[in-house]
């Protein structure tokens, strides 16, 4: 618990200021209140030192996923990063997400994510399915539906961050989204071809970095990505099935 007296301590917050043409960290001294989070510090700087400091935020309760940034190098929601979790006197560096093009200060262009989302086949209920299912049938999908689209998993994923493969890799957020659709009790669409050929699921080598940064605690790798990889293998690399399909004269979209 932080110091109830509060108000006297100062935090050193270094915020990246700049745009696509360049920039640098600017240091601000911010008075600390009990329970304060990094986003509070950013707001204090806006109100008292730098009114044009660009930042995205909405709910301030870790429910909307707007205030994503890199705090001391770690992709984090600023509204959840408590100042008292840093050592006293330790400077707190706040930088924009690296994986997305910088707009200004802490704001990046995340529009690519919305473009990827559009390409995913929507929910398609099976013909004649009954709209009844048990809670246990949807517990797993509800885990995926907790995603607040903060895009921190996209930011940390090395396929996107280091290898810049946005053109052939959808990223963990959208594997979670596809998993939610694929595991819906009455969804009848097959997205495995899209996963294999367009979304680049095979490029993920399950380092679990995405799972580590997920503020909602979604087990992205274990519960979404690995089962999807298994589905893709079942559907597209299962030779018994391929043979069966051939014998029955069904077209195969694999190999």
């Amino acid at each position: 618990m932080s110091d109830e007296a509060g108000g006297t301590r100062e935090a050193t917050v270094r915020v990246f200021r700049g745009d696509a043409s360049g920039g640098q960290e600017v240091e601000y001294k911010v008075p600390v209140e009990p329970g304060m989070v990094v986003l509070d510090a950013i707001h204090w700087i806006q109100a008292h030192r730098a009114p044009d400091l660009a930042v995205r935020w909405n709910c301030k309760a870790a429910k909307c996923g707007s205030c994503s940034a890199e705090v001391n190098g770690k992709p984090s929601l600023m509204c959840k990063s408590r100042l008292d979790h840093f050592a006293e006197g330790e400077p707190i560096c706040v930088r924009p997400m690296k994986t997305f093009p910088l707009i200004r200060d802490l704001v990046t262009d995340v529009s690519w994510n919305y473009e990827v989302n559009k390409r995913i086949a929507p929910f398609k209920p099976r013909e004649g399915a009954e709209w009844k299912w048990q809670q246990s049938d949807v517990d797993r999908v509800q885990e995926f539906r907790k995603c607040i689209e903060c895009f921190l998993c996209q930011d940390v994923c090395h396929v996107l961050r280091a290898h810049e493969m946005k053109h052939k890799f959808a990223g963990p957020r959208f594997f979670v989204r596809i998993a939610a659709l694929e595991m819906h009790p009455i969804d009848g669409e097959d997205r495995t071809g899209f996963l294999k050929d367009t979304a680049g699921l095979g490029l993920c080598n399950i380092t679990k970095c995405c799972t580590e940064v997920c503020p909602e605690g979604i087990h992205i790798t274990d519960n979404a990505i690995i089962p999807l990889k298994e589905r893709v293998v079942d559907r597209h690399y299962d030779f018994v099935r391929l043979l069966w399909n051939k014998l029955r004269g069904k077209p195969s979209d694999a190999i």
């Binding site: 109100a47 044009d52 660009a54 995205r56 709910c59 429910k63 299912w133 809670q135 907790k146 607040i148």
Partner: protein
């Protein structure tokens, strides 16, 4: 049209991409017209995402006695009969279909043991009525609508702020906006505009609302000549966080009480018993034991003869109770009440209230499965807004429509929890359909006035040109202080008069702020414009409150504590007059006899059906 502006043309332009805006856009698009959807934030971040407890619909899955008539009556009673009866009727009748439709679009609600949509109890609802997903129902709804929307052929304009509605004569002709990223202006030409911009919580310091809730749609509509009604009715949600300071006002879902949360003061007294209105006392449990039986039956998903705990009184009542306990010296260390759910099994609390568990653990170091929360009232929801036609959602200016929190009429003097999510589905759909039908009926596209556009761009850019002036953040703080202190949960004439005077000064200050930096993603500049909307809407609140010399629903007057029968027959309408803001009483629409009879027949049937 000047060629130096970026121009987009649509049949229907929807402003705001929360639940109501998205639902309206989907409906309009389905009607075959071209639709643009503009929002200040990224898609999917609107305040709907924060809605926690559930969406109210008389599906009758747990309590088969429920039906639209009971939902209708609950809504009217909750709103102290100041609601528009037709909106309350349409809402109660259509909400179940809207919830099922959402499920058909992919939403995954929690389930009953027999596999149907689960429903939970909420304040003021006679039966268990709220379809929910743990305590993140809003996220489920907005994601479902968002995913449906992106496959509906809409054009979405994200991070784009509308500053003015444009007209051609008396008709709507579009809107002027700026891109937040570049600060460049954009002209939307449209035959019809749907206002779905939500409320104005940011005029107050302690609020559950995010930065976006600055009353934009209300101010835009007012300036365009539309009528606003019921602006004195602002809901203070009884349970916001009170500590630590950074999260003061952050919402604690009513779902906590729906699941059995108990309110206590610093002396350990369960104080809600004292505050139940006499007329409705019979609907609530009489003893701790009876309340506990209700909770246990609810946990087990069973029917019970036990009545609801007193904590499930309506929001206006619970908010006043907590305020009074604190004021009379029985508050918690941080000035709130204790809300305790820790007597229930920890795994159940974590399963039913996961966001609350994490919110308190991570932001306040409180483990709600072991300790009580500290909560207090927080500015939450505007019952007032644009006057609309119930069936078509048409506002009082041709071509203008409204839905969701920005529209008025459904909730009357006080909104029941869960009725906003159903509101935005029912009336979002109706607004989309209404706007599309209107647009199809226009033979020619209205043309916005170029002079109007030029004048507006100059006004919006003016803060950059000033050599001196206050920071918009400073004026915003002063506005919040004014509204918190003078137009809060309890009101008196002298305070309201002073507020009107203060707001005139604040308007002058807001009109004279100076902003630094460039037009590129500049939050100080964004606030400068939003601030003018907040001041205007605050004035509408203060003036309407000043005129209502009675206590009704969420509007509580210390100097007029009772109901006034004559005022119960009028809504206060706010319009822009030649000499400034006018507030006039207008007669309440008369309820038809067949609906009146429902109330004459007495209380709805109680607990008589066994399953």
């Amino acid at each position: 049209m000047s060629d130096h502006f970026e121009i987009h043309e649509h049949d229907v332009l929807v402003i705001g991409a929360g639940g109501a805006g998205l639902r309206a856009a989907i409906e309009a698009s389905a009607a075959g017209v071209s639709v643009g959807l503009v929002c200040k934030s990224l898609l999917g971040k609107a305040h709907t995402v924060m809605a926690e407890g559930g969406v109210a619909a008389a599906l009758g899955h747990l309590d088969p006695q429920d039906g639209w008539q009971t939902h209708f009556m609950d809504t009217m009673k909750g709103g102290s009969f100041l609601n528009h009866w037709r909106m309350a009727q349409l809402h109660a009748q259509e909400a179940p279909d809207r919830v099922r439709e959402l499920e058909h679009w992919g939403a995954l609600f929690d389930r009953t043991p027999d596999g149907r949509i689960l429903q939970r109890a909420f304040g003021g609802h006679t039966w268990k009525r709220l379809a929910h997903v743990g305590d993140r129902t809003g996220l489920e709804m907005i994601r479902t609508l968002q995913d449906r929307g992106v496959h509906s052929g809409l054009d979405v304009y994200m991070e784009c702020t509308v500053t003015r509605l444009l007209k051609d004569g008396d008709r709507i002709a579009g809107a002027l906006a700026y891109w937040r990223e570049s600060g460049r202006f954009v002209v939307f030409r449209a035959k019809a505009v749907v206002i779905a911009t939500g409320g104005v919580g940011k005029a107050y310091r302690i609020t559950s609302n995010s930065w976006e809730y600055t009353g934009d749609g209300l101010a835009l509509a007012y300036e365009a000549g539309a009528e606003l009604i019921d602006m004195e009715f602002l809901q203070f949600h009884p349970t916001g966080m009170v500590w630590p300071p950074g999260v003061m006002g952050l919402l604690v879902t009513e779902g906590v009480r729906g699941e059995g949360g108990i309110l206590r003061n610093s002396k350990g007294e369960r104080f809600m018993w004292k505050y139940l209105p006499d007329a409705r006392r019979h609907e609530y449990a009489e003893t701790d034991d009876e309340a506990r039986q209700w909770v246990e039956a609810t946990v087990a998903g069973q029917q019970s003869k036990a009545r609801r705990p007193p904590e499930l009184s309506t929001r206006d009542n619970v908010a006043r109770a907590i305020y009074t306990e604190v004021k009379e010296g029985r508050g918690t260390p941080h000035g709130g009440a204790f809300l305790d759910i820790s007597y229930l099994p920890a795994d159940r609390v974590k399963r039913k209230l996961p966001s609350m568990y994490h919110q308190f653990l991570e932001l306040a170091d409180v483990d709600i499965t072991r300790q009580a929360m500290e909560v207090g009232p927080t500015t939450h929801y505007m019952m007032g807004g644009l006057r609309v036609d119930p069936d078509t959602a048409a506002a009082t200016v041709p071509g203008l429509f409204a839905a969701g929190e920005a529209a008025a009429g459904l909730h009357g003097a006080n909104r029941l929890g869960g009725n906003s999510l159903s509101d935005l589905l029912v009336f979002g759909r109706r607004a989309g359909a209404g706007a599309a039908a209107y647009a199809k009926g226009l033979a020619t596209s209205p043309t916005p006035s170029e002079a109007e556009i030029e004048a507006e761009t100059r006004a919006v850019l003016a803060p950059f040109a000033r050599e001196t002036g206050e920071s918009p953040y400073e004026v915003h703080r002063a506005l919040q202080q004014c509204m918190d202190q003078l137009v809060g949960i309890y009101r008196v004439q002298a305070d309201l008069d002073r507020a009107v005077e203060e707001l005139a000064k604040l308007r002058a200050r807001a009109d004279a702020v100076r902003v630094e930096g460039t037009r590129m993603f500049n939050p100080g500049w964004h606030l400068a414009r939003d601030l003018q909307n907040m001041v205007l809407v605050s004035e509408a609140i203060a003036r309407s409150a000043s005129l209502r010399k009675e206590s009704r629903g969420a509007h509580s007057r210390l100097d007029h504590t009772g109901l006034d029968a004559a005022l119960g027959q009028v809504n206060h309408a706010v319009t822009k007059g030649p000499d400034g803001m006018r507030v006039t009483p207008t007669p309440l629409p008369a309820m038809p006899a067949e609906l009146k009879q429902l109330f004459d027949a007495g209380a709805p049937p109680k607990q008589e059906v066994a399953r």
